[in-house]
Amino acid sequence: MTTLAAISLSAPTMAMGAGLMVLPIAAHLLNRKARRRVIFPSIELLVSVSANQSKFFKLRRWWLLLLRCLAVLAIVAAFMQPMWLSAGAQRAAGRGGAVVMVIDTSASTGQLHGGVPAIQSMRAKADHVLDTLVPGSEHANIIYAAARPYSIFASMTTHIDALRSGLIDIEPTHERADLIGALSLAGRMLSDYAGPRRLVIVSDMQESNWSDAIDSLRRDATISAGTRVTVLTPNGTSPANLSLHRPSVRPAAPRIGQPFSLAVTLTNHSDRVQPASVRVTIDGRPFASKPLTINPRQQIEVAFSTTFDKPGEHRVIYSIPGDAMAVDDDCYQLVRVVQQTPVILLTDDDVNGPGSAGYFMARSLAPYGDARDRYDVRLVRSTDPFPFTIGDTAVVFVGRAGLLGDNQVKALLQHIERGGGVVFFYGDAPALMNLEVLGRLKPNAILPWHPVAPQAQERTGQPLTLTGGDWRSPLLARFDEAARLSLAQIQVRQAWSGGPIDQNAQALLSYADGTPALVWREVGAGKLAIANFSADQSHSDLGKHGLFVALMQGLADELQTAHQPSDSNLVGRAANLMTSVPIDRRGPAPLVYQPDGRTPVEATLDLGDHNSRMVLSEPSKPGFYTAQQGDTILGTVAINIDPRESDLRSMNADVLTSALKANAGDAAVEASSVTPGLTYHAKGLWGWLLVFACVLLGSEMFLLGYWRR
């Protein structure tokens, strides 16, 4: 848009239409050539009377040309959409008003309304807002609210056309928008301007996205006082949508030939019953399809059972038929099939020294000591540098070990929260202190039970027996009556005491006096278990029994990751890609490629001895990201969109406007489904120009007829 004094041109490029002026000029020249020539006998008399003819007549054609040219110019000017700026607008322009538009580009803006993506109508609204701005006078900028908000220009600009060009290529991302970040950025940009400030929010008003921002808006001042805030709300109601998310595999790292289940959560975000058919493809080949009907607002876990006969990474894609939002109709999952389930045994015992707890624990998990074992036991000492590579490890068994450092404890907590399992076994004072350190990381949110001092059962002469248990739990269901009787015969000479277990915890085994013997709780996506016994023969004879083998292997199976972490491996968030192949340190630099397999993405490499981790800073699309070193595939990670983006319900605009008012103090906040620019202080002139053009053409035709009559 170009401003000429009090007139603003919305489409100045239409000025190229002035080239049409060549038409009346050409007509004029052709008519001039076509003027009638008469060979007359003698023009002596004509010459003598020519002085009496009207001087005006020689200018007639010029008058007609002038009228025609003016008519063409008026029509071209009308197409340039000029607007007459009122005095207020001119003053505002003179004061250099500032406008920042925050445009929501989250994945939900790709929802279709009548076949048209919501982002398109949002773009049109934003375009209309730009139409109301005065180029060269008003400062403006556009902020895209994606996972990482960014503005088209680093600072405010008066180049409105450039902003309009930036709008042309706007597309919905696959990310969840950081609306607070975007509003904060807008607030910072506007705070530098003393003149009139406007903040325009263009969003699909997705409730699941804005609900997080509402609390933050009420809490933290983001928008400077005096800012006029306009929320452009979407037209129409939210369309029905089905989504797939939260893929899971149980167990997390199945072994070859081991039956396991693949599952995905199907959610009906609409208010009506919907049929659906979930299809599964594994490694690009159709595997199964399951038709079903899902009730309004219902979530169903759709599971499929299978086995793999080859180790390595397998790509699983769940799909449903297309609906109003296509991006959540596919869900991606990577299943890593292993020869042996990797477990970590964290102990300072000599695992080869018969009688120690470490000895019995290692033997219970890997009795053969070769490939026939189900578990790949990795021995880690408390003195080993952390973080050790526990990324692909299912369970960490913490035996008798020394005092762990804070970073080591934090790494264990991180492993649990990401879906791993950790079992702390009874031990000496360092074991209890390690538990205390772990519990302090998140008080009352980690430990299933707070053990205190060990009971000196030997002093009282009354050993403990394992008599109680939740025998229906998956862990103990394998223990039959005989096994339970045998277990009750085992005498435990040392164990911790303590109060009742946490309300979120589950006691699996207990001693005869009610003291918890084996208790666990879910922490994040994983589980933390405390075994109030030790396999050390000085504490009990448990390690010598086969029951201990069953118990250890049961723990190793049940504590494996059962669900993909809900807060990781999402579009727009950093994701870890664990390599399954050692990286050649002398080879080419490893690269991570987008799902198209061609476009590399930004990633940082964290080298490990066996496995390395590549951190994807912000994957932008769902799908499988592959790390490669040359032609060697190092590993793969599946990225999905945030499940909250699938819920397309809109928030009531009043809730947002009240939060914005609370945030910005005396700000004038309004919500509208139409562009406020239409109420801007300018009046369109194109209608008058067209009328003027009609008057000119009418005059031209009248004069032409009059002069030729």
């Binding site: 003027r35 020539r37 008469v38 006998p41 003698s42 008399l45 009377v49």
Partner: protein, 339 residues
């Protein structure tokens, strides 16, 4: 049984002569208003005496007069001597002078002019095979130019003159005088004249005054000069030339031939007018000047009329819109009325 032989006409087929058009003039005698001097006996009055043909007047006897001329009967009644005067009747010489300048070629803004000419040529070809019929009907000229109109009138007058056994001469004013045929009588002379009118191509200026001056010197002193022209040249010189001829005893008639477009400008909104003789141009808005132009044309015609009439010369304006024989009839009857 064979058809009776048709008596061949002595008149050459011409696009400028339609005998049947002149039927209304069969009883009209084309005669000069003044007595003329002729070479042979004819039907026109002459100041020549010596032959007692028709009584004219009496005068007193003066010594030296022929005694035989004394009217003795009058002497017997009045006792006075009177000489009896007789009028000598002689033939008439008519000199036709046609303006063949380029301006005479104007036949209006007819866009179908080439077609008309082609039709004219076709008519001429037809006339070669059917001379007699052509003479009866004659080729029609729908949209005559000024030259055509002048030739039509000149041919008609030549026909009347030849029929009266008078002598006819023809000349053209085209870049000076072009004498075609000296004065002779008879239809053979008429045929020569008709061919000459068709043969001439109009072009250039007329130099009419110079042509009149030269032409009148070749004519007998008391002959009849008929000028057909649009009079687009200097009036004074032409008047002087005609006046000189008139003073010598001749009689002159001027047919001022104008096209209708010259009298009333063509119906055009705007046009560039190009002088047919000089090439000079003027751009005009016709509706603006139409009235003033017509006024000027009338004034010019009046000036010619006044200038010629004062000198005893007949002036008769002719428009191409008029049928030529109507123009001649009009003139002859007007002339007869004046006489």
């Amino acid at each position: 049984m064979t058809e009776p032989a048709v008596q061949p006409s002595p008149i050459h087929a011409s696009r400028y002569l339609r005998v049947q058009d002149l039927a209304s003039l069969r009883n009209v005698l084309f005669a000069p208003r003044r007595p003329i001097r002729g070479q042979y006996a004819g039907r026109h009055a002459s100041r020549q005496r010596g032959h007692r043909v028709e009584f004219n007047d009496y005068r007193d006897y003066t010594p030296g007069d022929e005694v035989g001329d004394i009217d003795w009967k009058v002497f017997g009644r009045s006792d006075r001597l009177f000489i009896k005067l007789f009028e000598h009747q002689t033939d008439m010489t008519v000199g036709l002078l046609i303006d063949a300048s380029a301006s005479m070629d104007y036949d209006g803004l007819d866009p179908h002019r080439p077609v008309r000419r082609a039709q004219s040529w076709m008519g001429k070809l037809r006339s070669l095979g059917t001379k007699r019929d052509t003479m009866r009907t004659g080729p029609a000229i729908d949209n005559p130019s000024k030259y055509d109109q002048a030739c039509l009138m000149a041919s008609a007058i030549a026909f009347l003159t030849a029929r009266q056994q008078d002598r006819i001469a023809l000349a053209f004013a085209r870049r000076g005088l072009h004498r075609e045929h000296d004065a002779r009588g008879g239809f053979e002379q008429l045929n020569h004249i008709l061919r000459a009118t068709e043969r001439v191509r109009v072009r250039g200026d007329a130099r009419l005054a110079e042509s009149i001056q030269q032409y009148t010197q070749s004519l007998p002193r008391r002959s009849l000069l008929i000028v057909f022209s649009d009079l687009m040249e200097g009036r004074d010189a032409i008047l002087d030339a005609l006046s000189a001829f008139s003073k010598r005893g001749g009689e002159a008639i001027v047919f001022h031939v104008l096209h209708e477009d010259e009298l009333r400008l063509p119906d055009l909104p705007e046009a560039v007018f190009i002088d047919s003789e000089t090439g000079q141009r003027v751009r005009l808005n016709v509706p603006d000047i139409r009235d003033i132009y017509e006024s000027h044309v009338r004034q010019a015609a009046d000036a010619w009329r006044d200038g010629l009439t004062v000198r005893g010369i007949d002036y008769h304006p002719v428009s191409t819109a008029m049928h030529y024989h109507e123009a001649i009839s009009d003139y002859l009857f007007t002339r007869a009325a004046r006489a």
